[in-house]
């Protein structure tokens, strides 16, 4: 196992970079970060639309979210892979294909987190903001959303973990993220598949477990702070 790591660690971490495109664990992380970063504003808009008092906004967005949540990510990736080029009129490489699929998929899940967050803020907050004369959108922007975003920090970290795991599906369209690289290493070594894939699993585990513990800590910390304030 040691010589495996010794020979392939750099390939595992960054792919062929700098002699070729960036790949490996670095690509996995970049995809996850960008995916969540772009998905967040979209999820915010969708989440607000989900609780909108106007049906013509609420219904189409709810339907879209239902469809995405009822579809496997792999399916979304396939659609992006086969139809993004005809939509944009140019060849889309694997990176952008995967990023697009991730953003659409994550936005639907974030929207549900945000919807739950908005509904978790008591009705009294909206009512008192409206009573002061704020419009619906101002009440959302100035009073409700700042609270929602603060409360959802742990959920965001958990969604980041989910996104890291989701990037592994880039494998199927030949994206050189870390699972794909592991398979490349496996075909080169040929004799140690169990070790290669255990190392892959271990890598994901360290990353994701660390982050989920962080989310757990955030949640506890947040709860304690709210409790302390309530008792003050």
């Amino acid at each position: 196992m040691i010589d495996l790591i010794d020979t392939y660690w750099l390939y595992f971490l960054v792919g062929q970079y700098p002699h070729g495109p960036l790949g490996g664990l670095a690509l996995t992380l970049i995809l996850a970060v960008l995916g969540l970063l772009f998905a967040f504003p979209l999820g915010l808009v969708f989440g607000i639309a989900r609780v909108s008092p106007w049906r013509c906004v609420r219904w189409p967005v709810s339907a879209l979210i239902q469809v995405v949540r009822g579809t496997p990510l792999l399916m979304v990736i396939f659609w992006a892979y086969f139809f993004l080029p005809s939509l944009t009129g140019q060849n889309t490489d694997q990176f952008w294909t995967m990023l697009t699929a991730l953003v659409v998929f994550d936005a639907a899940y974030l929207a549900e987190i945000i919807r739950a967050g908005i509904q978790g803020i008591g009705k009294g907050q909206t009512e008192s903001a409206r009573s002061l004369g704020f419009s619906y959108l101002d009440a959302m922007r100035l009073v409700i959303l700042p609270q929602v975003v603060r409360n959802m920090l742990p959920s965001l970290v958990n969604q980041f973990v989910a996104t890291i795991k989701e990037t592994s599906l880039g494998y199927i369209i030949g994206l050189t993220e870390v699972s794909f690289i592991a398979t490349q290493i496996n075909t080169q070594v040929l004799t140690k598949p169990a070790e290669v894939y255990l190392l892959l699993g271990l890598t994901y585990f360290i990353l994701c477990f660390g982050l989920s513990r962080f989310a757990f800590w955030l949640e506890r910390h947040h709860q304690q702070r709210t409790l302390a304030k309530a008792h003050a």
């Binding site: 990510l73 396939f78 659609w79 139809f83 496996n186 994901y204 989920s212």
Partner: protein, 232 residues
């Protein structure tokens, strides 16, 4: 001249047969994995709730080790890695049979069980400790108290999240494509490459995934309406 959307291709002929076979495989994967995962999940939940520290800890380690690694990496490990660890005779025996489906089912079962065990555990914990104490005070053993008093109550809290895990399982079967299980996604890709009718093939697969997802979501809604959680 070929039509814009060739419905006939989906309704009759070889391609139709391929796709339907894929759908049946996906449903079987879901059914078998669910049947195996449920008892395993309950077992893990009980282990995590047992008074023995070592058991608690190993349950925790199992759940976290599985949840923090993408399903794709699990599949790759069970398909490429694990057989190598087996004695040669057993391995040959396995390879002569359906090793793809077997690895997929193992991965899906473990992955689903890890998530489900968390739902079962929080379901059990939602039942106040006095219920358990009251049962013990009447003379029931630990196991009998769980089986007769705590579990029936916990079921109502637990079934809805378990149904939503089943939805995840259904969508996750698509990942078995990666190791060559001839399920729905795999067959859709096969039809695509044989006929170049990518739109029809993926539309069929998407419709199947979505339809089944809606059924499962509907079941969750029905259950919550039929068996609301009652407080004493």
């Amino acid at each position: 001249m070929t039509p814009l959307f060739d419905l006939d291709l989906l309704l009759t002929g070889t391609y139709h047969d391929w796709l339907v076979a894929g759908l049946i495989t996906s449903l079987s994967l879901t059914g078998i994995s669910l049947a195996l995962a449920l008892p395993l999940a309950i077992l893990i939940a009980l282990i995590r709730l047992s008074p023995v520290k070592v058991l608690q800890w190993s349950g925790f380690a199992f759940v976290e080790a599985i949840r923090n690694v993408p399903l794709l990496a699990h599949m790759l490990f069970w398909y490429f890695g694990a057989p190598e660890l087996l004695p040669t005779a057993l391995r040959e025996w396995l390879y002569a049979r359906n090793i793809e489906a077997t690895s997929a089912i193992i991965a899906l079962t473990l992955y689903t069980a890890a998530y489900m065990s968390e739902d079962v555990r929080s379901g059990i914990r939602s039942i106040p400790g006095q219920q358990f104490e009251a049962a013990r005070a009447l003379g029931f053993s630990f196991v009998a108290s769980m089986r007769l008093v705590v579990l029936p109550q916990a079921l109502r809290v637990t079934i809805p999240p378990l149904i939503s895990q089943t939805l995840n399982l259904w969508k996750d079967t698509s990942i078995a494509t990666v190791i060559g299980v001839a399920e729905l996604m795999y067959q859709a890709a096969k039809v695509e490459s044989a006929s170049f009718r990518s739109f029809e093939a993926f539309a069929f697969a998407s419709a199947c995934y979505l339809g089944m997802s809606l059924l499962i979501t509907g079941a969750a809604g029905w259950y919550q309406g039929r068996f609301p959680v009652r407080a004493a």
